[in-house]
């Protein structure tokens, strides 16, 4: 009986899990950290960081194409806040673009707009903004106020009155811009911060605790005994990861509940979907942490590696600074970080009511990252002391 078969494997993974849990419970400081980090961050981070990102992706749904609409779009882009990236044909298409996070703004120009302006009918143009990240959309919306002026200066021949600055300032503007701050009408920063914290806290705690778990065994000399036992690397890994999946789930629950209770974060989408994707995200982070632990020589190195990885996660994922405001190369880097995808998904589900269909790309990316990390971790785990 050399203990083969899937049952033997399950039994060994179970033994490993049990051991990890006992050690976790005995390590009071670590245990307290897992509870305190989310609570502290949630309270401390509740207040925002301000930036003015530019070149935000914008969809234009134009029902007519005239010199006036072109002038409006040109001055939109001139503000540097908007970059027209999509030209949807229908409202449904525009809606989808915004829900999936491809664009932050949808500009809708109604049919017969130019004619209505010429007739002095004072028509309206709609600008809908994704306000889940109010920092990202806020300054752009503010810039809209000057837009009418600039657009009209260019096209002043169609306005009955004389040029601006000739004493006609008190006349009403030729057209109106109606803005809709979608999903987060009051631009409450906490609505963005809470989903962000959910991702960063999970990243931090999951990474650190798994990164330490293998190096701790090496440092304490227990790895030698473990390797001399009939247990496979995959079994060691799964046994070590599993308890932390539960810790992560507990943390996520804590943060979401605190977010709802303290900051009135709405839950527009499905909590079940959120839970499933959070599970995926947790496992991805654990795999990465485990990879670090097989690379590091000791616990100190494991912690250092974790922090090195943590930094781009915080800065580039769209948690602190809006993703859309980043240069292309930084966006590419951030696409390789699980946190980037997770943040989009959490904001999508909690605030916009996104469904699994809206999030296919981010789910696929996250799964791919997880599989790569797992593969590296298992192949890096040495079965000998060589």
């Amino acid at each position: 009986m050399s203990g083969g078969g899937p049952l033997g494997s399950l039994r060994r993974i179970g033994a490993m899990m049990r051991k990890e849990f006992l050690q976790l419970l005995r390590d009071r400081v670590s245990f307290a950290t897992m509870i305190m980090i989310p609570l502290l961050q949630l309270v401390l981070f509740g207040y925002a960081i301000n930036t003015t990102p530019r070149h935000l992706p914008t969809a234009v749904l134009a029902h007519e194409n005239t010199s006036l609409t072109r002038a409006i779009l040109a001055s939109l882009e001139n503000t540097k806040y908007f970059a027209v990236t999509h030209h949807p044909r229908t409202e449904a298409e525009a809606e989808r673009l915004m829900r999936s996070g491809d664009v932050l703004f949808v500009v809708e120009i109604p049919a017969g707009f130019e004619r209505a302006v010429r007739r002095g009918e004072n028509p309206s143009m709609l600008v809908a903004a994704d306000a889940t990240d109010p920092v990202a959309s806020g300054s752009a919306l503010a810039a809209l106020r000057t837009l009418v002026d600039t657009a009209m200066t260019r096209e002043r021949f169609i306005v009955e009155g004389g040029p601006r600055g000739s004493g006609l300032e008190d006349q009403p503007p030729a057209f109106e811009i109606i803005t809709h701050a979608r999903y987060n009408p009051a631009a409450v920063t906490q609505l963005n911060i809470v989903p962000g914290l959910l991702g960063t806290i999970l990243t931090m705690t999951m990474l650190i605790f798994t990164a330490l778990s293998v190096t701790r065994e090496i440092e304490r000399g227990t790895m030698e005994t473990l390797l001399a036992m009939p247990i496979r690397p995959v079994e060691v890994m799964l046994g070590k990861i599993a308890p932390y999946v539960m810790v992560g789930a507990a943390q996520a629950t804590l943060i979401v509940v605190a977010g709802i209770v303290l900051f009135d974060v709405p839950v527009v989408g499905s909590l079940g979907l959120l839970a499933a994707l959070t599970g995926l995200f947790i496992v991805a982070n654990l795999s990465i942490g485990y990879t670090f632990s097989t690379l590091a020589q000791n616990q100190l190195q494991a912690v250092q590696m974790t922090f090195m990885y943590f930094l781009p996660n915080i800065l580039l994922s769209g948690f602190m600074f809006p993703f859309a405001g980043m240069p292309q190369w930084a966006q590419w880097i951030s696409e390789t970080l699980p946190l980037t995808h997770y943040l989009r998904m959490v904001r999508g589900i909690l605030l916009k009511g996104a469904t699994a269909d809206d999030l296919v790309y981010d789910m696929a990316a996250l799964t791919a990252i997880m599989l790569v990390a797992m593969l590296i971790a298992v192949s890096r785990f040495r079965q000998t002391l060589d």
């Binding site: 050399s2 049990r18 005995r26 304490r220 005994t225 496979r232």
Partner: protein, 332 residues
């Protein structure tokens, strides 16, 4: 892991061979340093086999190769009839390995450690098995104590208990009694003999000469090379060493004088007496002849001790080692 098995496939353990360990030409280097060189040995089932040698001689490395923790650079062999190169996983199931340093989980209790081991090895009723082991170890009442808080002797006892819990066929013990008090050492050896009597094969590395004498057979390794093996009597007889012991005033001064003489290869003060030895009996006798006349000195021919033999082996192999220019003192 490494590709191997050009030799005939070794049959799966069922009809057990007489040899628990049978290896040939094992070598292992770490970088430039050769830690074990062309080592061959054979350990019969049910034997207690002592593995002796100075620090850094390659004992630990050899043991790690036997249980598949290290892959040898060259050589072949079997452990319990299983190939050490290709069947390391199957070997692990039947081998209990006790590391030099205490390597159970210090932050788990005695019982939790034992249960963990039982579960990993698939022992039926792990809880019951652990409880039985606790009783056998005499740790009843302390089973909830954290392993890290046990004293040295108890840690060693627990480690041995964990090793034998999955009822292995071979025990590999790496300096199990280092830093343990004499009483605990004696109890430990009594237990080893009991286990051997039940048919378990034990390979134990040690520094202590008195422990070597408790083994059925011994092997002496220095600088990665196996220098002698056999029963204690064999090893002493084969050494070809002739020794005299002299008792008298000021043994330290006497030892200094004697060491300078040609034909004297080894001088070791033992309390009030001095042990003098060499390989050439005639030359040795000629050298000490003038001193035998000296009043107040009591000379007598005696048999070399195991320690004499080992010190001699080590000195000579060190000379060879230095001559080879292989340099660097091996530490591991």
């Amino acid at each position: 892991m490494s590709a191997a098995a050009q030799d005939t496939p070794v049959p799966v353990p069922v009809p057990v061979p007489d040899d628990a360990i049978e290896v040939e030409g094992l070598s292992k280097s770490f970088g430039e340093r050769v830690v074990v060189r062309d080592l061959s040995m054979r350990v019969r089932r049910g034997q207690i086999y002592g593995f002796l040698g100075p620090n850094g001689s390659g004992k630990t490395t050899t043991i790690r190769m036997l249980c598949g923790l290290l892959t040898p650079d060259a050589g072949r062999g079997t452990c319990l009839g299983l190939d050490i190169l290709t069947q390391a996983r199957a070997i692990r199931r039947h081998v209990g390995y006790m590391t030099q340093k205490f390597s159970l989980y210090a932050d788990l209790s005695v019982r939790e450690n034992l249960e963990f081991v039982a579960r990993i090895y698939g022992v039926p009723d792990p809880v019951g098995a652990a409880r039985a082991a606790v009783e056998r170890l005499g740790l009843t009442g302390r089973d909830r104590q954290l392993a890290g808080s046990l004293s040295g002797g108890w840690k060693q006892r627990l480690a041995l208990g964990a090793c034998i819990l999955p009822s292995p066929q071979l025990l590999l013990l790496d300096e199990p009694t280092a830093g343990v008090d004499p009483k605990a050492r004696r109890e430990f050896w009594a237990q080893i003999h009991e286990l051997a009597a039940e048919g378990l094969t034990v390979l134990v590395s040690t520094h202590y000469m008195d422990e070597a004498e408790r083994c059925h057979e011994i092997a002496y390794i220095a600088y990665g090379e196996l220098l002698a093996q056999g029963t204690v009597e064999d090893v002493i007889a084969r050494s070809g060493l002739v020794t005299w012991s002299v008792t008298g005033a000021d043994p330290a001064a006497l030892a200094r004088e004697l060491a300078a003489l040609p034909g004297v290869e080894m001088v070791a003060p033992f309390g009030t007496s001095v042990h003098v030895g060499g390989h050439d009996a005639a030359a040795l006798e000629a050298a000490i002849a003038p001193y035998r006349q000296r009043p107040g000195l009591d000379w007598r021919a005696d048999a070399p001790t195991l320690e004499d033999v080992f010190i001699d082996l080590m000195t000579r192999s060190k000379d060879n080692f230095a001559k080879d220019g292989a340099g660097k003192d091996g530490r591991r």
